[in-house]
Assembly symmetry: C2
Homo-oligomer: 379 residues x 2
C-alpha cells in the first residue's frame, strides 16, 4: 500500500465524509470525480485542460490500453504517466466490464476470459494475474482487480456465480501483486440489486488486504431508482478507513446521494460523452445545445461557470459549432461538463465540512423520493 487516506470531516446527519487521498502522483481531495480517459486520453482534452479545471486524478482503461497501444509500448515509453504526458495520478479500470460489453466471441472460465479485440478481432486472454501484470506495468496509482460484472437484468443465480468467481479472482489478484510499493489495488464488491448478496460479497472482499474498495455492478442496466438504494445499502459495509469508489456512476443526483451514503470516488463517461452529444449541464438541469432557441443566444452556457467555454464563448457560437460538427465544439463542451462535475463535487465536499449537506442534496433526495414512489405504485 502506498496510499494514505485521511478523513478530514464527517457530516453528522449522513454517512458522508470529506477526505484527503495521498497517491504516488497526486494528493486528491475527496469526494472526487475522475475524468475518463479510456484510450489514454480524455476525449478532446489535453493535460493542460484538465489541470485548468483542477483535476489531478484521471481514469484510463486496462482493456483498451492492452489492445492499443499495448502494454509493451507503454512499458518501453516509461509507463502510462510518461506515455501520456500526465504527471498526476491515474486509476485504471481492470477491463472486466469492457470485456463483457465490447469484445466479441468471449469465453469465460475459472482461469479468465478469452475474447476477440473489438478493433482487429485478434484473440486475447485476460485473467486476474494478467490484469495485475498489465496495471502494474502501466505503473498506475490505483489499479482495479479483474471482476465479473453481470448485466443489470441478470437472474440472481448468475449474480451469485459472478460474485463467487470475483471473490476467487480477488484472492488471485492479491497473490499476483509484484509492486505493492508502487501500485495500489482496490477490491470490487458485486451482488447486483440484492442486499443479501451485497452484504455477503462485501464481507468476503473486505476481508482481503486491498488498499481501497469499490462498488461495482451499479448503473449497468438496472432500473435507475435502484442505484441509490444499492449504494445506500452497500457503501456503509465498506471499511471506514479506506477510500470507497463507486464505479461508472453517474448523474449529478446519483453522485450527490452516493456521497451522502459515504462514497469518496467517482468516474463516469456521462459528462464527456453527453457533451459530445450536445447535452450540457447547467445548474438545476441541462441544455440541449442543438435547439433552435440558442441560435442567437449570446449568453454564456452557464453564467456561474468559470471554464474557458463559459468565459469566452456564447450559446449561439456553441450551437453553431455543434451543428457544423466543428472539432472545437467537442473540446469546449467537454471542458464545460467536466467543470460542472468538478464544481458539483467541490460543493458537496464543502457542504460536508460545513455540516450542511442536507441543504445541498435536498433537491436530489426529493427527486429520488418521487422516483421510488412511482416505482412502488407501478408494482
Amino acid at each position: 500500500m502506498t496510499l494514505e487516506f485521511t478523513v478530514n470531516a464527517r457530516e453528522s446527519h449522513f454517512k458522508a465524509r470529506a477526505g484527503t487521498l495521498k497517491l504516488p502522483h497526486a494528493t486528491v481531495e475527496t469526494p472526487c470525480f475522475m475524468p475518463v480517459g479510456t484510450v489514454a486520453s480524455v476525449k478532446s482534452l489535453a493535460g493542460d485542460d484538465l489541470e485548468s479545471l483542477g483535476f489531478n486524478l484521471m481514469l484510463s482503461n486496462t482493456y483498451h490500453l492492452m489492445l492499443r497501444p499495448g502494454v509493451k509500448t507503454i512499458e518501453e515509453c516509461g509507463g502510462l504517466h510518461n506515455f501520456m504526458g500526465w504527471p498526476h495520478a491515474i486509476l485504471t479500470d481492470s477491463g472486466g466490464f469492457q470485456v463483457f460489453s465490447l469484445a466479441k466471441i468471449r469465453k469465460l472460465t475459472e482461469q479468465g476470459v478469452t475474447f476477440r479485440s473489438h478493433i482487429n478481432g485478434a484473440l486475447n486472454f485476460l485473467g486476474p494475474e494478467e490484469a495485475v501484470y498489465l496495471e502494474e506495468t502501466y505503473g498506475v496509482d490505483i489499479a482495479m482487480m479483474l471482476d465479473i460484472c453481470p448485466p443489470g437484468d441478470a437472474p440472481k443465480r448468475d449474480v451469485v456465480k459472478a460474485m463467487d468467481l470475483t471473490t476467487r479472482w480477488a484472492k488471485r489478484c492479491i497473490a499476483a501483486r509484484k509492486h505493492p510499493d508502487k501500485t495500489n489495488f482496490f477490491g470490487i464488491v458485486q451482488g447486483g440489486i440484492h442486499n443479501d448478496l451485497r452484504a455477503k460479497h462485501a464481507e468476503e472482499i473486505c476481508a482481503l488486504p486491498f488498499d481501497g474498495f469499490a462498488i461495482g455492478g451499479v448503473a449497468v442496466g438496472e432500473d435507475p431508482v435502484e442505484i441509490a438504494k444499492t449504494v445506500n445499502y452497500t457503501a456503509p459495509l465498506l471499511p471506514e478507513d479506506k477510500p470507497r469508489y463507486l464505479m461508472g456512476v453517474g448523474t449529478p443526483k446519483d453522485i450527490a446521494l452516493a456521497v451522502a451514503a459515504g462514497v469518496d470516488m467517482f468516474d463516469c463517461v456521462m459528462p464527456t460523452r453527453n457533451a459530445r452529444n450536445g447535452y450540457l449541464f447547467v445548474p438545476g438541469g441541462h441544455i440541449s445545445i442543438k435547439r433552435q432557441e440558442y441560435t442567437t443566444d449570446m449568453r454564456p452556457l452557464d453564467e456561474t461557470c468559470n471554464c474557458l467555454c463559459c468565459r469566452r464563448f456564447s450559446r449561439a457560437y456553441l450551437r453553431h459549432l455543434f451543428v457544423a460538427k466543428e472539432l472545437l465544439y467537442y473540446r469546449l463542451a467537454s471542458l464545460h461538463n467536466l467543470a460542472f462535475y468538478k464544481r458539483h463535487l467541490a460543493q458537496l465536499r464543502q457542504a460536508i465540512i460545513e455540516d450542511r449537506l442536507a441543504e445541498v442534496i435536498a433537491p436530489y433526495l426529493k427527486e429520488q423520493e418521487i422516483l421510488e414512489e412511482e416505482q412502488r405504485s407501478k408494482k
Copy 2:
C-alpha cells in the same frame, strides 16, 4: 480605408519587405500567415490556442458563413468577432473560389452566380454587391472582392473571360461599399499562369481604390513549379504602398519564395488540413506520424518548437492518438503545424530586417531551380 500599412524594412537583394499592418482589431507584423477558420473556427482550435501561438489575424469564409450560421445570425450576434469570441482581426475570402469548387448546379451570369448549397441544396445567389453586403455585415477587418477563379488547367480564353468579368465585378464592389470606415476591401488579380494576362489585369485592378491587393488563381491545379514563377512576376506589379496578399498559398517553400518576391500576407489550409491527416512539419521537412517507427519514440515532434504539443507530448503519444483517432490528436497536431508556420514567417521577417534573406531561403531557391530544370527537360 481604415488600414495603415507601413514598410519597416526592405531586403536589398530581393523585393521582400517587413511591414506593420494596422487593422481595426489588431496590429499585424508582415509578412504574416493567417490560420484558416472556414466555418468561423480554425478546426480543433479555440481563440486561446491561436493567441498562445501569437496569431492576431485569421481568415474565415463568406461562402461558408452565408450558408451556416447565415448572415442574419451573425448580425444579430453583433458581428463575426463577437459571434466567434475572437476580438482580434479577421479577413474573409469572398466565397468565389468555394462557389466554383464546392457548390452544385451553379450558373454564372454577368450579374453573379446562382448555386445550390453543398449542405442542404438550397438555392443561393452571390454577386459582387451581395459579397460586399455579407462581408460588411460580418464586420470583418479585411474583405475580399468577389472574383472568378478559373481552374489551373483552364484554356487561356477562359482565363481572359474570367479576368474581364472580375474587373467589372471589382468596379461594382467598390461602388457597393457602405462601410469603408470599418471594413477594408482588397482587389484580386487573376490571369492564370500567363504573364501578359497578369500584367493586364494588375493594371486594371490596381487602378481601382482598393485598400490592398491580392494575387488570386494561384495553386488551383496548375503545375506547382508555376506558383513561384507567377508570383515572382505578379507581386512587383502590385502597388508598393499597399499590402499584398497571395491567396491560398502554400508550402513553406511557396511562402518563402513569395516573401522574397514582395508578398506580405498568406493563408492556406495546408498546416491544419495536413495536421489532421498525420503530416507534421519539422525543420527541413515533415514527419508522417502514423509510421511504425514512432511507436515508442519519446522525443518531442520537434525539439526546436515551443508549442504545447512539443513541450508536453511525445511522438509515441501523438502516433497513438492518431491511430486511435482520438480527438485530442487534431488539436495537438494543428497547434504544432500552425506554430511551425508562425515561426517560419517570423524567421523570414527577421531575415528581411537583418538583410540576410538569401541565407534563409537558399534551400527553397535551390529546390525551385531543380524543379524548373526538370520541367524544362520534360518539354
